[in-house]
Amino acid sequence: MANLNETIHQPVRLRIMAVLVSMEPTNEVDFTYLRDLLEVTDGNLGAHLRKLEEAGYITVNKIFVERKPRTYFTATPAGRKVFNEHVAALESILKKK
């Protein structure tokens, strides 16, 4: 049976992963898009993104667009795997209800 993942289970991190996993693996989203979609503050989002990056679940791509720095995020294959396992674990808990 799949296990719950403590890093991902935190509500903001779970929502970040839900957004990134629902996109094509080749797509990247920027910080503003995530912040507006999740309705969180810059500081809060930044802290949770850092945790996910440290765990190896997301990759951070910093580039310059029209001479301005922009940060893009995407889920790694490992991140997609643990997110799917986490969802499977949640579903199995629900089935036992």
Binding site: H9, E24, D30
Partner: protein, 189 residues
């Protein structure tokens, strides 16, 4: 780590809701902007066509087209910066080429059919824009395909059955319809 079934249910509901919102947001990205802007341009332009005549109409259409085109381009570029696909530049070039071919086709078709009246010219341009837009819908996301098809049907109904009120029909129902669809995609999709 243990959680209750209620917590699991809440977490799954949050995940499903957010995944759905993300997919819709990506699928409709840009579609609502071009719909609303084209709708506003057509609404104002065609209502002017119905009630005004003479050289001033050309100036109104040129002004509206420049304003609408510039606004749509700026907003489109701004939207596209939020979601990036590093491997998509080849696709973007092909899409630009498809639009270029469509523009050439439209100009050639009008030149071959010339002389044509104002209503025929309007239908040529409207059909060209909407068919190109639907083709983009088929290529990129299905969200803009069905509204495009419905607007084509409405435009043809106006052309064949409501000749006296053609421009008013195009303005209020086709232009207004595009604005309503755009707002629907933006807020309810």
């Amino acid at each position: 780590m243990n959680i209750s079934p209620t917590e699991a249910e809440e977490a799954l509901t949050a995940i499903q809701g957010l995944m759905e919102r993300t997919r819709h947001s990506i699928a409709s990205s840009g579609a609502h902007v071009s719909l609303i802007i084209t709708g506003i341009v057509w609404l104002i332009g065609f209502i002017c066509n119905q009630f005004l005549s003479g050289e001033i109409l050309s100036y109104i259409w040129i002004g509206l087209s420049i304003l609408g085109g510039t606004t749509a381009t700026i907003l489109g570029i701004r939207n596209s910066k939020h979601i990036r696909n590093p491997s998509a530049s080849a696709t973007a070039k092909r899409i630009s080429l498809i639009w270029l071919l469509l523009v050439i086709y439209c100009i050639a078709a009008i030149a071959v059919a010339y002389p044509i009246d104002g209503k025929q010219l309007t239908m040529f341009i409207v059909l060209f824009v909407l068919i190109g837009w639907m083709a983009m819908g088929l290529l990129l996301s299905f969200s803009s395909f069905w509204p495009g098809l419905l607007i084509i049907v409405m435009a043809l109904v106006g052309y064949f059955f409501l000749s006296n009120y053609f421009y008013l029909w195009m303005g209020i129902l086709v232009g207004g319809g595009m604005i309503v669809f755009g707002l629907y995609i933006r807020y309810r999709w």
